[in-house]
Assembly symmetry: C2
DNA sequence: TCACATGAAATTGTATACAATCGTCAGTAT
DNA sequence: ATACTGACGATTGTATACAATTTCATGTGA
């Protein structure tokens, strides 16, 4: 009864590997050998393989047949792509709920923003918090596949990178701004805020002046 | 040298299972036992597990821990969701290439539409052709993650269902219409055509009058 | 020196074997 | 009759073992 919601080895390994990639312990391009991971975590290769395949889906690692698995190199283009997709999906969410974001969700977002205040140096924690914040928006639409698509897009890595590049405003400021627009209940205003939020993140998008 | 691009067992099994689900051989809610599949295809459980996990990502099957895997039941809401997402992603693609679809792509789309002419009864083939057609649009944006997201959305099943429900126009007619708009090079026109294309597919979308 | 063949080591791909968990169905007490 | 208990079978979760492929170093010949 104690192990009501215990987790499978695969899930544990997924989290471990993901963290090690996001914190930079596993560097871009570095090879990930199934056996190494397995002995490192004290498990067999089975769960490791399954975990790596899932992480591959998220775009954090790359498999080459009969050669192996390596940490995906995140280019400027990847950052651009992830921002593009996240923006599109979040805009869709807002449109679906007609800009009306429930009080409960707004509260969660406010708390999230407050937590960001003291995190500006801990990039990994910031990434997790960023995911939580934006997930609130995506959840509001109550479209399960939209949420699933958003989550499995492998946005982590790219967003983390963005944190480095964006020195003008703190994450706290950026999300506070977005949050305030969300409180307005005005679809158009929120949509613009989302676009601005992601445009800020990469000058590539700014340069090409994309109308998302 | 002959097996220059042979495929791994996992990939083969993925295709086999996918086909069996889409053709209705594996029915909604039906349990899929790893051992059964393994002996059926003459392979071991390893590749079967990996294949099923991938198909789970696509939303065609569902795993329950220590219980098993079953074919996902596709509801009206699923159809709605997939149409919503496909529309959003395809609209994004068109906007990214400013409505200018290359001649080569248009040619491929024309050929695809022609092939649809004689397929109206073969739902599986139709689904594959539908994917090919729409993939042309998504590829045009040259955003690899956009394409990846579109593909791993598990659109197959829902689209197949749509084929049943939509008696007003043949698939050939629907895609011919869309193709003709694509030839115009006018972003707004194409976007409207895409929305109409997917709105047609499910009255749910029509009822809610969603502005994608 | 360079191209190419060759073979061993390492790694992934696949198969088999064992362990843990869950569902079922008698059986029993209330 | 019903609710609970417990053991059995079936299925998934995990570990180990083997096969196939690739890589890399080494050696050989021109």
């Amino acid at each position: 009864m104690a192990k009501l919601n215990y987790r499978t080895l695969r899930q544990e390994v997924v989290d471990e590997i993901r963290q090690k990639i996001l914190t930079g312990e596993f560097k871009e391009g570095e090879r990930i050998k199934e056996n190494e991971i397995a002995t490192l975590f004290g498990v067999s290769r089975g769960p490791v393989r399954e975990a790596l395949r899932q992480i591959e889906q998220e775009g954090l690692v790359h498999y080459e047949r009969n050669v192996g698995c390596s940490v995906a190199a995140i280019t400027q283009k990847d950052v651009y792509e992830v921002c593009l997709l996240r923006a599109a999906l979040e805009v869709l969410s807002v449109k679906l709920c007609h800009g009306k974001i429930s009080k409960g969700t707004l509260d969660k977002m406010r708390e999230s923003v407050q937590r960001m205040k003291g995190m500006e140096t801990d990039l990994y924690a910031l990434t997790q918090e960023d995911k939580f914040f934006h997930n609130c928006l995506v959840e509001e639409a109550q479209v399960s596949r939209l949420k699933h698509t958003w989550w499995t897009m492998g946005s982590n890595h790219a967003v983390l990178l963005c944190a480095h590049q964006n020195g003008t405003k703190t994450h706290y400021d950026q999300h506070l701004e977005l949050l305030q627009c969300c409180e307005s209940g005005d679809t158009a205003k929120i949509v613009e805020a989302i676009k601005a939020h992601y445009n800020l993140k990469t000058d590539y998008v700014q340069r090409t002046q994309l109308q998302i």
